[in-house]
């Protein structure tokens, strides 16, 4: 388990990653505590102050119905984080389970699972996600499932490769020779050794899912208005780009900030774990 400690250590040494972690934590806390953080309601209209520019009262300005954009961004980030988080969990769970099965059991099961994985990876992911949302109708659960359905395959491929190499190591051989059952080897030896790299992939995937959710919402296939969603807010702002550019700028900036933070954390983890990369950095 020392690899986890190593991850944590690397995170503390890397200033960009530490800041990113802070950003993510602040975003999470603020969005969970949204009703207490902001005095406005995300759906309450106030036509008196429609499309007013950023000010002290409305730091991000207001939209065409006078709704406070900062409030809507906070609520939008809340849905984005929740959807991306849940989709990451599902994708990690399915991908790890199938990857371990394929990589450790091998044989015909491996062949089948690998073909399914490759097929999923081969399709253009946004089009596949669009197809799923069209079938299931827009809504938060649809987006979640579409993202998980598109995203599990990369975890399956990663874990399969890891499982194959771990199964060849001496300590696994020793465990098998010592009479460990298959499931014990799988859960006590293979799984824990896959996890650090899975965590790295998951934090990078989290950013990709935030991007995917906002892209679907931007196309009108994700969360439907008036529910605040970062992607659909950017789309709404398109009609007012001359008169109220802040309607587009701020929600998009928050998407970019979230993705940037998750990517930076993931990269820091990966640099810490990948010895080859570390070598080139020390030279």
């Amino acid at each position: 388990m020392s690899r986890f400690a190593e991850l944590w250590h690397g995170l503390r040494r890397n200033r960009a990653a530490a800041i990113s972690l802070l950003v993510v934590l602040v975003c999470c806390v603020v969005s969970v505590a949204a009703p207490w953080v902001t005095p406005y309601h995300p759906l309450r209209c106030d036509l008196e102050s429609a499309r007013s520019a950023p000010s002290l009262r409305h730091p991000f300005g207001t939209d065409e119905l006078g709704r406070d954009i900062l409030t809507r961004v906070i609520y939008g980030a809340r849905t984005s984080l929740a959807i991306a988080g849940a989709a990451t969990c599902i994708a990690v769970f399915i991908g790890t389970a199938l990857g371990m099965a394929a990589g450790y059991v091998r044989g015909r099961l491996d062949l089948t699972l690998t073909s399914v994985t490759d097929l999923t990876l081969a399709f253009p992911s946004l089009l596949l996600a669009i197809g799923i949302t069209v079938v299931m109708g827009p809504g938060p659960y649809t987006v979640l499932l579409a993202l998980a359905f598109v995203g599990w395959a990369s975890f399956a491929r990663l874990v399969r490769g890891l499982a194959i190499s771990i199964a060849e190591t001496d300590y696994v051989r020793a465990a098998v020779a010592g009479g460990c059952s298959r499931s014990r080897v799988l859960f006590m030896h293979v799984l824990p050794n896959c996890l650090p790299l899975v965590i790295v992939a998951a934090s990078l995937r989290f950013g990709a899912f935030i991007l995917g959710e906002s892209a679907l919402s931007f196309l009108g296939l994700g969360l439907r208005p008036p529910t605040p969603s970062l992607g659909s807010m950017v789309n709404l702002g398109r009609d007012f780009m001359r008169a109220a550019p802040w309607m587009t700028v701020f929600p998009g900036a928050v998407i970019a900030l979230l993705i940037l933070s998750f990517n930076t954390i993931g990269d820091a983890f990966r640099d810490q774990l990948d010895p080859r990369l570390r070598l080139t950095q020390q030279n």
Binding site: L127, L211, T248, V249, G252, I255, A256, L260, T264, T280
Partner: protein, 310 residues
């Protein structure tokens, strides 16, 4: 080399066949009826069944698939359920647009990405390096649809230099903003890969030799290091180009670009089966061809690759 190319092209046939089969099964396993989508739920049942017969949707799945394969063998892609236009004709009309956009985006990506990556590698661990790396991280994190809108706000609305959308009958100025939006992400990845690839190459012995025999640093960097660092760059740029040829839904939607991506998305939304199949098939074929070109180009960049393969 020639036999290698032929072999790869022959191998593409079963792959493409698999793509049609899987797409077909996925489409048909979707609940719902495209005919009801076309005529509405309150239409006369007689009309609905008549349309279903006309489109051949009343036949069993296997028959529909065999019919479609028959069409493919004659070099056709069927007709759109909605417009009754041959799919091949629509694709032939839209594909060049997508190709133009994809090529422009990849050229921008390579120019910007290589420059940033090489600057970062040569002046590593300096302020310049950090600036380039930060730029690359930002480029990767920025959603393409937001970047596109920011560029429109800046260059079309505020400065008035470039058109905000449309294709302008092929005028190059209309290509600039879509290509910039589409290429940025790719440029950022290329910058990263170029940097790490250069750093890896620059520690090798033959570079020390080159320096020791008195070559100028510029010559060492450009002729010896850059050329050998190029392979991962070419791979990545090729992959991006291939995926752009599948159409870039978001960029094409924002800029009103009449390309494959939007065509495919609209077909998915309307369940226009022949159009979905046609666009997926053409996209997959384009992807395979680009990958083949990339693999062949390795032999030109690095002669060792070609001899090992033959």
């Amino acid at each position: 080399m020639k036999s290698y190319i032929v072999k790869r092209l022959l191998l593409a046939i079963p792959t493409l066949w698999g793509v049609t089969l899987v797409t077909f099964l996925l489409m048909k396993s979707i609940p719902g009826d495209p005919v009801i989508g076309m005529v509405g739920e309150r239409a006369d049942p007689a009309v609905i069944s008549q349309m279903r017969r006309n489109l051949g949707l009343d036949k069993p799945l296997a028959v529909q698939y065999v019919r479609y394969m028959g069409l493919l063998c004659r070099g056709e892609l069927g007709r759109s359920h909605y417009t009754n236009r041959p799919v091949a004709q629509s694709i032939a009309e839209k594909f060049p647009n997508t190709l133009r956009l994809a090529a422009a985006a990849v050229i921008i990506a390579i120019l910007v990405g290589l420059t940033l990556g090489m600057v970062a590698a040569v002046w590593r661990d300096t302020f310049l390096d950090r600036l380039c790396s930060l730029t690359a991280s930002l480029g990767i994190a920025t959603p393409v649809f937001w970047l596109a809108l920011l560029l429109v706000m800046l260059f079309s609305y505020a400065l008035g230099w470039l058109p905000a959308s449309g294709m302008g009958g092929g005028l190059p100025v209309f290509l600039v903003l879509p290509a910039l939006s589409l290429g940025t992400r790719s440029a950022a990845y290329l910058a990263r890969i170029t940097r790490s690839s250069m750093l890896e190459v620059m520690t090798l012995d033959y570079l020390r030799t080159a320096r020791a025999k008195g070559l100028a640093e510029w010559g060492v960097t450009m002729r010896h290091a850059a050329r050998n660092a190029l392979i991962p760059v070419v791979t990545l740029a090729g992959l991006d180009f291939g995926s752009y040829l599948n159409g870039s839904v978001l960029t094409e939607t924002i800029f009103g670009w009449n390309g494959i991506g939007r065509f495919a998305m609209e077909a998915i939304m309307k369940r226009d089966y022949p159009v979905i199949l046609g666009t997926v098939l053409v996209g997959a074929a384009a992807f395979i061809v680009v990958n083949l070109i990339v693999d062949v180009s390795y032999a030109f960049i690095d002669p060792r690759v070609g001899s090992a393969r033959r």
